[in-house]
Symmetry: C2
C-alpha cells in the first residue's frame, strides 16, 4: 500500500543536495548541505500537516497526530547526514520511508491510536564529530548535552557552534519526547542478504564497537643520511601495527573480528623526512563483548610491540565504546510478522553497523529492518538499493509501525 | 682567520625568520618567509659592496669582484629554504659561511684573482616543489626552465607563480654565469662524523636517490558490516608495502640501503570507512647505482605483491632519479688540504643527502665540506651544529675557495 515510486522520487530529490562526482552525496553533519537536506524534509512534512520540534542537540521530531495524543508516540526515522563520499541510502532511506509511511496513512485517511514521530538524529555518521550516533546517544542519556555540544570537528568547530550556524539549535529538552517504540529501516551496508538472496533482514541487535585515537611519536630525521637502524620512524611502526591487526582479523575464520584504520596523519609530512609523529584512528568490532575485550587487549599488545621494535612512544585513547546490543523481543517479532506478511525470504540477523537504534533501544523498545545493499558496498558513492527493495522495506516498516501504534 | 662569532650571529639572525615552536625554522621554498630570508641576505651582501643577479628560476648570484673579472668565477653557496619543521643549519650554513668568507676577505683587504659568486639555489629541499635541487638542476641543464617553472606544490601553485609572488623571478638566463669551481659547506645531517669524533668531512660524492609517487586504489566500504575477506583496503596494502620495505632495508647489514615513506594520504578519510584510495611517496637511496636498480625492482615487486594480497590496483611513477655522483678530484683534494691544515681529524666520505653540488658538479668542478651534526639529526627542529664546528667549516671553505680563486 505504500507508494514505491513516490519514495524513490524523494530519495533521488534528497540526493541532489550535496551531490558528489560519482553519484553519491556529501552532507557532513551540520554542514550547509546537511542543513539544506533537513529543510527539504521539513518542507515536505509541513505540507502534510506535521509539526516540528527540535531538541538542544538538533534532533528533529516531526509529529503526526493520533487519536490519543495524551499517549506516548511510536517513532521511526534515522539520519540525513552522510560520509564525505557517502551514498544515497545510508540513513536517508529510514527518514524518507518514515515520510512515506505518513503520506500513505494520509492517502488512506488513517489516524493511528498513538501519535507518530518521524525522527532525524543529528550526526549519526561520526565522520565530522566523533563518536557516531552522538545525538541519539544524548537523547538516551549516554552522553551529557554539554559534552555533546562541546564535541569538535577536525577544524576545531564545536557541534554547538555548527548547530547555531545552521539554525538547528532547538529548545526542546534532550530526552523528550518519551517514545513507546522505535523502528528504524536501513540498508544493510554489508553483503549478507544479497549473498543469501533474502529481501529483508529482521535485525535482532548490533555488534559492539570501540574507537581509539592512537599517537605514535618517534623522531623526524633526514631520509638520506640517517641510517635505517638509527631511525625512529613513526610511520614504520604504524604500518607494522596495521599489518599485524589485519593479519589477526583475517585469521579469525568466523569473520566476526573487524579492524579498520580509517584515518592516518603524518605530522608535517615531507618526502625526504622520516616521519616523526603519526596519529591514526582505529575501529574495532565484534558481535561478542568478551571477544571485543580480547581484541582490545590484542591491539594494545601489538601497539606496544610495534613501538618497541621501532623505538616509538605510543599512546592510545579509547574515545568510544558501544557495547553489543540486543533489541526488544516484541519489536523484533512485529518486524518479523510484517516481513513474513510480504511473502519474501528474510533472515534474523545482527547489524555490523552502528545505528541510532542502538542508543534509542536503551530507553524505548526498539528493532530494525534491513534491505539488501548492492555488492555489500556502503560508505561509498556507489552504494545502491533497488527501488523494489526500498519499497519493500518501507512496506514492512509501515506494517510494523501501524501494529505498534494501534496497541 | 674567519670570525666564528660573526658567522654564528648571522645564523641566529636568519633563524629568526620563520621560527618554529621548538627552535627550528620554517621557510618553505618561495614562501613569504623564504623571501624574507633572501632579502636579509641581500641586504648584508649589498652592505659589503656585492652585486646581485637573479636568474629565471630565482637562483641568486651575488658577486664579489676579483682582479680579473674577465675570468669565470669560483662559487660557493647552498640554499636558504627549509623543511616544514626544519633546522637552522641545513643549507643556511653554506650560504652564510659564504658571506663570512666575503666579509673575511674584506677584513683583510684581499682581492682574489678570479671573481667570487655566492649562490643561493631555489627550492633545494624538494618539500614544497618536487624534486629537490630543482633549480641547481635547471642551472646544470638537467631540467628545462619551462618544466621547472611549471612544477606545482600541493595547493597547485606553480614554482613560476611563487617566484612572481615573492619578487624573485629574475631575468638572467639559467646556466649563467659559468663557474670554474663550486664548493659547498653543509652540515652532515647524519651521525658518521660525530660517531667517529671527526670534525670535517671531505665529501667525495653523493649517493643515488629515486623518488616515486605511489597510488593504491581499492574500494571504500563500511568499517562495520564489511567482512574482512571482502575488503579492498588500500591502507592495509600500503601498510604491508611499508612494513616489507622496512624489513628489506633493515636486513642490509652494510646499512647502505635506505627506504623512506615520508607522505601518506588517504582519500576522504573517515574513522568508519575502509580506505578506498591511498597515495604515498617513496624515497630510495643507495651509494651504488646497480644496487639502487635492484632496490627499485624489489620495491615494484613488493608493491605488486601487496596489491595482489589486498585486491588493490597499484601504480607507481618515478618522479625523480638522481644518479650516484663522484665529485671532482681537484676540488676534493683542495678541500682535503684545507682540512688537513686545520690539524683536526677528518674523513673522506659520501653524502647521504642530496645537495645542489650534485647538479652543479655536472657543469663545474665541485666538492663539498661537511661538519658534524648533533646526534645525526636533521630535517628536524632540533638540528644543531656547534659554533666551533661552524667556524671550522667556514675556515676550511675560506682556504679552499681562496686556493681555487687564485689559480
Ligand atoms: N549506519 C552507519 O553507517 N552508521 C555509522 C556508525 C558506524 O560506524 O557503524
Ligand atoms: N640537504 C638536504 O637536506 N637536501 C634535500 C634533498 C634530499 O632529500 O637529500
Amino acid at each position: 500500500s505504500i507508494d514505491g515510486q513516490r519514495l524513490w522520487s524523494s530519495l533521488m530529490a534528497m540526493a541532489e543536495i550535496g551531490p558528489t562526482a560519482n553519484g553519491g552525496s556529501c552532507r557532513l553533519a551540520l554542514s550547509e548541505e546537511d542543513a539544506a537536506g533537513r529543510r527539504l524534509l521539513i518542507e515536505w512534512c509541513k505540507a502534510i500537516g506535521c509539526t516540528l520540534r527540535v531538541d538542544r542537540v538538533g534532533n528533529l521530531f516531526i509529529r503526526r497526530l493520533g487519536k490519543r495524543d495524551d499517549l506516548d508516540p511510536v517513532a521511526t526515522g534515522s539520519h540525513l547526514d552522510t560520509q564525505p563520499k557517502g551514498g544515497r541510502f545510508d540513513g536517508i532511506l529510514g527518514v524518507l520511508a518514515g515520510l512515506e509511511v505518513f503520506r500513505t496513512l494520509d492517502d488512506h485517511g488513517i489516524i493511528t491510536e498513538r501519535p507518530l514521530e518521524l525522527v532525524v538524529w543529528t550526526n549519526e555518521e561520526g565522520s565530522r564529530f566523533a563518536p557516531a550516533m552522538v545525538a541519539s546517544g544524548t537523547y538516551a542519556g549516554a552522553f551529557s548535552v554539554e559534552s555533546t555540544l562541546a564535541r569538535r570537528d577536525r577544524d576545531g568547530i564545536t557541534l554547538g557552534e555548527a548547530l547555531a550556524a545552521t539554525g538547528f539549535a532547538g529548545e526542546m529538552e534532550v530526552g523528550e519526547p518519551r517514545l513507546v517504540g522505535f523502528l528504524e529501516l536501513h540498508i544493510e551496508q554489508g553483503p549478507v542478504l544479497e549473498e543469501n538472496r533474502e529481501a529483508v533482514g529482521v535485525v535482532t541487535g548490533v555488534q559492539g564497537m570501540r574507537w581509539f585515537d592512537v599517537t605514535l611519536r618517534g623522531q623526524s630525521s633526514h631520509a638520506g643520511p640517517t641510517p635505517m637502524r638509527y631511525r625512529r620512524d613513526a610511520l614504520a611502526a604504524a604500518a607494522r601495527l596495521i599489518d599485524r591487526l589485519q593479519g589477526h582479523a583475517l585469521a579469525d575464520t568466523s569473520g566476526d573480528t573487524k579492524v579498520t584504520v580509517g584515518c592516518l596523519d603524518i605530522d608535517s609530512p615531507s618526502r625526504n623526512v622520516v616521519p616523526g609523529e603519526v596519529r591514526l584512528t582505529l575501529d574495532l568490532r565484534h558481535v561478542e563483548e568478551s571477544e571485543l575485550d580480547a581484541l582490545e587487549t590484542h591491539f594494545e599488545r601489538e601497539l606496544a610491540a610495534a613501538g618497541e621494535t621501532f623505538d616509538i612512544e605510543t599512546r592510545s585513547e579509547r574515545v568510544w565504546a558501544s557495547p553489543v546490543v540486543e533489541f526488544d523481543v516484541g519489536c523484533i517479532d512485529a518486524v518479523e510478522r510484517a516481513a513474513r506478511a510480504q511473502g519474501v525470504p528474510y533472515r534474523r540477523m545482527m547489524s555490523g553497523a552502528g545505528h541510532d537504534a542502538v542508543y534509542v533501544s536503551r530507553v524505548a523498545p526498539t528493532a530494525m529492518i534491513f534491505i539488501p545493499c548492492r555488492d555489500g558496498i556502503s560508505h561509498n558513492e556507489a552504494e545502491y538499493a533497488s527501488p523494489e527493495h526500498c519499497a519493500l522495506g518501507a512496506q514492512v516498516l509501515f506494517d510494523a509501525v501501524l501494529e505498534r501504534a494501534n496497541t
